[in-house]
């Protein structure tokens, strides 16, 4: 069957009433949580994962699709109305968007972000639908050595290529890889690094790790930092509608943003923040009114927001077709798939075709819902932004511990007569780790990606070496693998060269922090 046929079938499944309700709940929750300051898309997805635990796989993944897109939308609202540093994917939106809001043009800024996200989401989701089958065909010819090379490339791009220090990026990655070793080795049944603790035999849950690093770590950092500015929320005054001139200046920016964002997301080349940053520079050079940049140019909101969303859809290409997460958000989504016993990769498209296409179709549905929901409900989202910090972070920690308990709440450890939850102890320990990583300028995403991708890379490496009976030459014997290693080497060496030439500041701006 051709792509249109499969997509149509997916749409029929996605448009069933109960699936529409799941999608609606997903986008609403996703936007509501994504709007909260300090919560990026990765944490949104991790916090809301428990809500989907008791649903059937299809319903859960559809709700998940809504949460993912909703979280991306929510983040842009925050950065326009509240100039929060730290939400990296939307940080570029804040440059111009916050300026527009200050000049009383918050409405049009939100409108161009919402419509741009819609346009980008629509084109990029269709792109996903058409690119994915081709990648699947290609991926079916991949051997274990090629997969291993692909994962090495993903390790490099997520840790060393962007951000302000390759050393700290790689250190974060290796911490994740080291934690990924813990537990029973799947191929031989041997226990590694469990130190006799029963709860460690299954390894460390990616969701526990993500919630700890993003929620607890962020809360500790925000609470401890005296210099944290108390950012003020800017009221939306006047009309939310865009003028004819706004439309004229926005539409090309949306399209450029989409075509910058989708490929960057689809290739393991960095997250949404890289895409929005590149789009911002592109808009700055294309604009007819350069003097407005820095003072609230609408193109500077339209382009990066479109790029941001297009790259979010693009990230799903390697995730669904290769099982390769390239951002922290994707790593958590992979964990969500695994909880239903689904392993994303080329085989998912043949074994669970109806599920995959229902998921892709519900991304389209979620995208429409967000456009309809977002502008009318803007008043509600603004109210969420004004929640005072003490209550906001108290609530975040309540839900962070709730999610961890809901996933694995066994009171499996004892301190004297008191039974305690081992999973919450891990949450606390990794929360402190998250704080320390932030304090010393280490990126967070590589830890999460290393934790989930490390064991997968090991499996492919050992499969390859088992086939060759230990001959290391197999790792570089296929043209695909060699090409991937060359790209990985460039991704490692080029930034080093740029940093030596004193261009490190620009790479620092591209830090893949949040997702």
């Amino acid at each position: 069957m051709d792509t249109w046929g499969l997509l149509a079938q997916g749409l029929i499944a996605a448009l069933q009433v109960h699936n529409l309700i799941y999608a609606l709940i997903g986008v609403t929750l996703g936007t509501a949580v994504g709007v909260l300051p300090g919560i990026g898309p990765a944490l949104t997805v991790a916090l809301l994962l428990p809500v989907t635990y008791k649903l059937d796989p299809a319903g859960s993944l559809i709700m998940f699709a809504g949460i993912y897109y909703g979280g991306m939308y929510g983040g842009s609202t925050t950065s326009i109305l509240l100039n929060t540093p730290g939400e990296s994917a939307s940080i570029v939106t804040a440059l111009e968007g916050n300026k527009m809001a200050r000049k009383g043009r918050g409405g049009p800024a939100l409108a161009t972000a919402a419509i741009g996200s819609f346009v980008a989401g629509l084109i990029a989701t269709l792109g996903l639908a058409f690119v994915a089958p081709t990648v699947v065909k290609f991926a079916l010819s991949f051997g274990p050595a090629d997969y291993f090379a692909l994962m090495v490339l993903a390790f490099i791009t997520v840790s060393a290529a962007f951000g302000d220090s390759a050393l700290r990026g790689l250190t974060a990655l290796f911490i994740g890889l080291g934690l990924g070793l813990i537990g029973i080795d799947l191929q031989t049944g041997q226990t590694r690094l469990a130190f006799g603790v029963m709860d460690l035999l299954d390894g460390i849950e990616v969701t526990t790790m993500a919630v700890a690093l993003f929620a607890i770590g962020e809360t500790l950092k925000t609470a401890s930092d005296r210099d944290q500015v108390n950012a003020e929320v800017i009221a939306v005054k006047g009309s939310v509608w865009m003028t004819i001139e706004d439309w004229k200046r926005s539409w090309a920016a949306w399209l450029r943003g989409t075509f910058i964002g989708f490929p960057i997301g689809a290739m393991p080349a960095g997250g949404a923040d890289v895409a929005s940053f590149l789009s911002y520079s592109a808009e700055k050079s294309f604009t007819k009114k350069p003097e407005e940049f820095g003072n609230g140019a609408i193109e500077g909101v339209a382009g990066p927001e479109a790029a941001n969303n297009a790259s979010a859809a693009g990230t799903l290409v390697p995730l669904l077709t290769l099982g390769l997460p390239t951002t922290a958000t994707a790593a958590i989504m992979l964990a969500g798939f695994q909880q239903f016993g689904l392993q994303p990769g080329p085989l998912l498209f043949t074994n669970n075709a109806s599920l995959v296409w229902a998921l892709i179709a519900s991304l389209l549905v979620a995208n429409f819902m967000l456009l309809v929901l977002n502008l009318p409900l803007i008043g509600l989202w603004v109210k969420l932004l004004t929640i005072p910090k003490p209550w906001l972070y108290a609530g975040i920690l309540t839900f962070a511990t709730l999610g961890t308990l809901g996933a694995n709440g066994a009171m499996s450890m004892g301190v004297g007569p008191v039974r305690i939850s081992f999973e919450l102890v891990l949450l606390l320990a990794f929360g402190v780790l998250g704080y320390l990583l932030r304090r010393f300028g280490y990126p967070i995403a590589p830890v999460v990606v290393g934790l989930i991708l490390g064991p997968m890379a090991e499996q492919q490496l050992r499969r390859a070496l088992a086939i060759s009976q230990g001959d290391l030459n197999i790792l570089v014997s296929s043209p695909i693998a060699i090409a991937l290693y060359v790209v990985a080497f460039i991704a490692l060496a080029l930034p080093l060269y740029l940093r030596l030439r004193g261009k490190g500041a620009m790479l620092g701006q591209l830090a893949t922090d949040e997702d």
């Binding site: 607890i216 809360t219 401890s224 005296r226 003490p390 709730l402 308990l405 606390l428 050992r462």
Partner: protein, 165 residues
């Protein structure tokens, strides 16, 4: 991460050196634990020890790199952090962990809620703990009863849902 908040001194970054030591320690633990594994000869070549050794080697090299970076002041400047709020939050999490199995979700998490609010300057605790307990009970009810998530119930939850302890 605010530039200029600490003066650029030309002496080694002590905290970063500690990080280097911790990384080296992690590498040593992985080396030691992996060497303790008894591997059947058939698996010796591509068995479960290969990857741990690779990662431990990587961590050891990164420890050296971190030490060099610490000596050259390669780390970004750090803002002066306030440890009081951190103690409140960690205290709240520890209290929740200890209370959970006996007092139930609402009371334990209510304490965490109040301690976190305290860390951000909202008090006093005799007001915020009841607020937290009520909020957490509502959350418990929605998730445990509505979404069938298994969350520990204590006397409060039993009293309010079944009428008896």
């Amino acid at each position: 991460m605010t530039p200029g908040s600490s003066s650029r001194e030309r002496r080694p970054d002590g905290a970063a050196l500690v990080i280097a030591v911790i990384l080296a320690g992690l590498a040593a633990i992985i080396f030691w634990q992996t060497s303790q594994m008894r591997v059947p000869p058939i698996q010796a070549r591509v068995g479960p020890t290969v990857f741990p050794y690779v990662i431990a080697t990587g961590l050891a090299l990164l420890a050296v790199g971190t030490a060099i970076s610490a000596l050259r002041n390669g780390f970004p400047a750090r803002s002066k952090d306030d440890y009081g709020p951190i103690a409140w939050i960690i205290g709240g999490l520890v209290a929740q962990i200890l209370l959970l199995s006996t007092a139930g979700f609402s009371i334990a998490t209510g304490v965490l809620f109040a301690f976190t609010a305290k860390a951000f300057g909202r008090g006093p605790l005799w007001q915020t703990i009841p607020i937290g307990v009520v909020f957490c009970f509502v959350v418990w009810f929605l998730f445990a009863k509505g979404l069938q998530l298994s969350l520990p119930a204590g006397p409060l939850e039993r009293l309010l849902t079944t009428g008896s302890f």
